[in-house]
């Protein structure tokens, strides 16, 4: 992400060599990590941070296949662990958490207030597939609440759930709090009871053999720093 703020800030003493840092981040981190990249570039004007967003499993697969990533931020442990086991990444640190919201059309026309409302006849509900992080969390949340749903669809990622609700195709669905924060005009969020009990944890790690290990570590440090955490919080993430 090119930063035009770079000229206005004087370089710090720890300024890094000119280089391009490649960060692979889960799609739900999009807004937050764009800002994170800008922050790092401001501190290190010589560094160009490129963030690639995609599903965590896609990114993990690419890193396993030798993708030139320096940092990997996953939306779940499941995709980080195998890389760690094969020593393809350095030690992973949890840096954020995410909780679920019921996403509804703006203004909540169907008056959906809790998880049980999702099971109402005539309400079209979509969820994430159980295999993806948000789907696993949704399943946990629903089972905690003792609610059984027959969703119209099990989407492959949160964006698809958001899209279906925003386009009116579906009436409600479970998404991350961060998604509600990122789409204020398209969906409204309802916090279901027990949401805080089910928290998804985001690990981050420097990719093993990174040619820019120092900058990569700097990025991880930034994410974990109070400044980084403030950015994440502003996008709706919880502390790890």
């Amino acid at each position: 992400a090119p930063s035009n703020a770079a000229d206005t800030v004087e370089p710090t003493a720890t300024g890094l060599e000119p280089q391009t840092l490649s960060v692979y981040a889960a799609a739900s981190l999009t807004g937050a990590f764009d800002e994170m990249a800008a922050l790092l570039e401001r501190e290190n004007p010589a560094v160009d941070v490129q963030v690639s967003y995609d599903g965590s499993s896609t990114l993990a697969t690419q890193i396993a296949a030798g993708a030139p990533a320096d940092v990997f931020a996953s939306a779940d442990q499941k995709n980080m662990q195998p890389l760690a086991d094969d020593a393809l990444v350095g030690p992973a640190t949890l840096f954020a958490g995410n909780t679920l919201r019921i996403a509804v059309a703006p203004g909540n026309p169907l008056r959906i207030e809790n998880l049980a409302d999702l099971a109402r006849a005539g309400v079209i509900t979509v969820l994430c597939a159980a295999q993806v992080p948000c789907g696993a969390a949704s399943a946990a949340l629903l089972s905690n609440a003792g609610v059984t749903l027959s969703p119209a669809s099990e989407e492959q990622n949160v964006t698809a759930v958001v899209t279906k609700i925003a386009s009116g195709e579906a009436d409600a669905g479970l998404v991350y709090a961060t998604d509600v924060a990122a789409n204020p005009d398209r969906i409204d969020g309802v916090t279901p009871a027990g949401a805080s009990e089910v928290v998804g944890h985001y690990p981050i790690a420097v990719v093993a053999g990174s040619a820019h290990a120092e900058a990569a570590q700097a990025f991880v440090d930034l994410v974990l720093s109070p400044a980084g955490q403030a950015v994440l919080a502003a996008h709706g993430f919880l502390a790890p």
Binding site: Q131, A152, E154, A160
Partner: protein
């Protein structure tokens, strides 16, 4: 009659197509394979895929052959335009096809609203899968058949007309048999494309077990679940490929015997 020089690039081309599939084979966990392939998680999507792809292919034939005839027999300028229109869906990235279908047939879509008033809702149904597959597969059929029609020309149709045969008769007994190989090629192509369809289906039809989870969606779901190890996704892909190869070879040799 083949210039020797051609064998080298031909082999490279074949290798480019076949070697990646071979690479896939190396990733397979052969021990776990049989159990997985016989599990309902594999067989149900496979069944749904075969059924929907067959229905889509049939739809492609019913709609695509007439469209191909109209294009092939149009004046050059009109034909060029029609052909371009028919080809466009090929360019659409998977996602965009889904968005386009939603914006037409979804709730709030132009036609979707009308249908909803009639009590019909298409998204999230098996019908949506078929529509998505037909949408992406139809161009293949049209282009293949149109090309065959154009090459076959109208000489034999003219002869049939001078013998007194009406247009319907000529179409059924002369035109169609003469483009048989092209028709078969188009059918194979559109069936293959329908079988592999993922993007538009995912967005337009969703991913519900037994209703809209076709094989490609099952593969994607498995991939998202297993991540790096990709074992299950690869195994399912293998199943899909194996079924496809069997069907293609069966049709292919049938086609060969038609041709010879």
């Amino acid at each position: 009659m083949i210039p020797r020089l051609l064998y080298l690039p031909a082999s490279i081309g074949l290798a480019l197509l076949v070697l990646p599939l071979a690479g896939l084979l190396l990733k397979v966990d052969w021990a776990a394979l049989p159990a997985l392939l016989l599990s309902p998680e594999a067989l149900q999507p496979l069944g749904l895929s075969l059924v929907t792809a067959s229905v889509s292919t049939l739809l492609c034939l019913l709609l695509g052959v007439p469209l191909a005839v109209v294009i092939a027999r149009s004046k050059p300028r009109a034909a060029g335009l029609l052909r371009a229109l028919v080809t466009v869906p090929l360019v659409l990235p998977p996602l965009v096809g889904g968005i386009a279908l939603l914006s037409l047939l979804g709730r709030g879509g132009v036609l979707g609203n009308t249908l909803e008033l009639a009590g019909l809702r298409i998204p999230f149904t098996t019908a949506a899968v078929v529509i998505a597959q037909t949408f992406v597969a139809l161009p293949f059929l049209v282009i293949a058949v149109e090309g065959a029609l154009r090459t076959a020309g109208i000489r034999y149709e003219r002869v049939a007309a001078t013998l007194g045969a009406g247009r319907g008769t000529v179409f059924a007994r002369i035109t169609l048999p003469l483009v048989g190989p092209g028709l078969l090629a188009g059918t194979v192509l559109s069936f293959a494309r329908a079988l592999g369809e993922f993007g538009a289906t995912a967005l337009f039809a969703g991913n519900q077990v037994g209703v809209t989870r076709t094989m490609p969606l099952a593969i994607y779901t498995a991939f998202n679940g297993s991540g790096v190890t990709t074992d299950q996704a690869v195994a399912l892909s293998l199943l899909l490929i194996a079924v496809a190869v069997i069907i293609l070879v069966l049709v292919g040799t049938r086609r060969a015997s038609v041709l010879s």
